[in-house]
Amino acid sequence: MVAKLTVALQDDGPFRLDVQLSCATGEILALVGPSGSGKSRVLRSIAGLYRPKRGEIIYGDEVWYDPAKAVNLTPQQRRVGIVFQNYALFPHLSAIKNVMEALGDRPPSERRARAGELLDLVNLGGLEDRNPAELSGGQQQRVAVARALARDPNVLLLDEPFSAVDKATRQRLYRELADLRRQLRMPVVLVTHDLDEAAMLADRLCILHRGRTLQEGPPFDVMTRPATPEIARLVELKNTFEGRVLEHQAGNDRTFLGWGPYTLETTYQPNFPEGSCVTWTIPNARVIIHRPDRPSRGERENPVSGIIMEFVPLGDWTSVAITVDGVPDSPLFMTVPTHVAHRNDLATDKRINASLLAKGIHLMPLSHEDEA
């Protein structure tokens, strides 16, 4: 059955909640937002563990929650699988018994066999009889995933499932989830505050901030073409500046943007009238360095020049902040491979030339955060 999960929630609660999202079968939707944005409350509402004031939760043609019609299915009736942030394993039961508890009223031998299969599926074969306290964080997470899948759930909910393990384990668990998802035939909602994690695992992102869903779409779209400056900040686009639309050239597929003394070329973005002030953004990776050792045609594209004010090597990549000539108050951030940085002798206080790729420049309305 191809069933879709549709959620619309409003709540006053500890703070306001106004959320719309949907997730199709076989799809991973990442609900991303800073802590305190209401992510967990949304997840708990879907599971039936929290009752928001208004809204509805529909799975396929089943109404799970609709306070206006006094419908509220229990967690047991909704048949969701949930992995909590701290896993919430039953501490007094072994790994296999944790999974067996979720297998209902089938005969014990059948439940044991099925639980064993599920533990094998999450690569935990051989550790069936260990108690949670005898398992590492990553192993506990796998037990929690196996337990969540045991009921053959309608919907799988993951509440920051990777936040309690170290980085190396997390990378391994990402790969395992990516493998596992090919076998999952259900909507999966992943709550996380980690954008990279969401981008890596999810088919779609939903940005949640102060209880409101702001933008939903494929990760690359949301992260490079945020709808508002507020979202740009939430998806950690540091290069967010104000400019003025100078001219549209539909024929050339070009819009020209004034930024300080520069006239920047961008793709045709006619939603903003000529002469209007806009916020614009460009991902760090779309700012490219001009290399004296290897000149390229791209250097003609929106060239800017400035002084390096910050130079931070981070392993293979180096983050560079530039004070651009003519716009001293708006540092421009770029990320270059560390070996390129060395080859071009980049260092603090040195002059640098860079290009802003026209395709990477995205226009947004001016910031309205002061009104919020």
Binding site: R44, I82, A88
Partner: protein, 222 residues
């Protein structure tokens, strides 16, 4: 050695535990997890026996359950016997004054179960009864056990309330604590000493059981 009194005390302690086990579980789960109006009032009422002089508590129970009271008359009409100055009356009094000793440790035990664990159980499709039986009770049982042991020891040793409500009828309501007092009054220190020693051993055994049980649970969950 006053065997009938010792047996009576043991019987009373066991029955008190039996009656208080379900009451304590229900009450302490509510207090641990639910918010309801007048919760503070209920908590205060439950804690009252801790601070009230036993004779005062006994006096009120005597008045409330006595032959002149509606409860006493109803009990007499249904069962044809008096509630006060009988084992039944002792049991009611014992249950009342032991409530805080049961509810406090049990409540702490239930509170220590993370809410997500119970939520996870519900999301696993477990019914409320199954969650209680398979998850909550196994996790809370050190607290439940210490509640029962406290009740047992406290009932065996209780004096004031039992004397007020039960009178001191040998073989009927004379518990071992009262018997010890009797023997001392009669300058029979040998008998009093023997009975006191028995109570001391019972108390030590109770504490020992609690410690052994809770520490083994502690090791298991580390």
């Amino acid at each position: 050695m006053n065997w009938p009194s010792l047996i009576l005390s043991l019987k009373l302690a066991v029955w008190t535990m039996v009656v208080l086990l379900p009451i304590g579980i229900v009450l302490s789960r509510q207090l641990a997890w639910r918010r309801f109006p007048a919760k503070g009032l209920v908590e205060a009422a439950l804690a009252l026996p801790l601070v009230l002089p036993p004779t005062v508590l006994g006096f009120y129970i005597l008045i409330t359950l006595g032959g002149g009271s509606p409860i006493g008359q109803f009990y007499d009409a249904v069962l044809g016997r008096s509630l006060v100055f009988s084992f039944d009356g002792l049991l009611v009094a014992s249950v009342l004054f032991n409530l805080p000793f049961v509810v406090l440790p049990m409540r702490r035990a239930f509170e220590s179960i993370p809410p997500e664990v119970r939520e996870a159980a519900a999301c696993c499709g477990m019914s409320a009864g199954r969650i209680l039986w398979r998850i909550e009770l196994p996790l809370a049982w050190p607290g439940i056990l210490s509640a029962l042991v406290l009740t047992f020891a406290h009932t065996i040793g209780e004096f004031g309330v039992v004397l007020m409500v039960g009178g001191n009828i040998p073989g009927e309501t004379e518990t071992i604590a009262i018997a010890i007092y009797d023997r001392v009054q009669a300058f029979d220190n040998a008998a009093a000493g023997l009975m006191s020693a028995v109570l001391l051993i019972v108390a030590l055994a109770a504490i020992g059981i609690t410690y052994a049980a809770t520490s083994s649970v502690g090791r298991r969950n580390i």
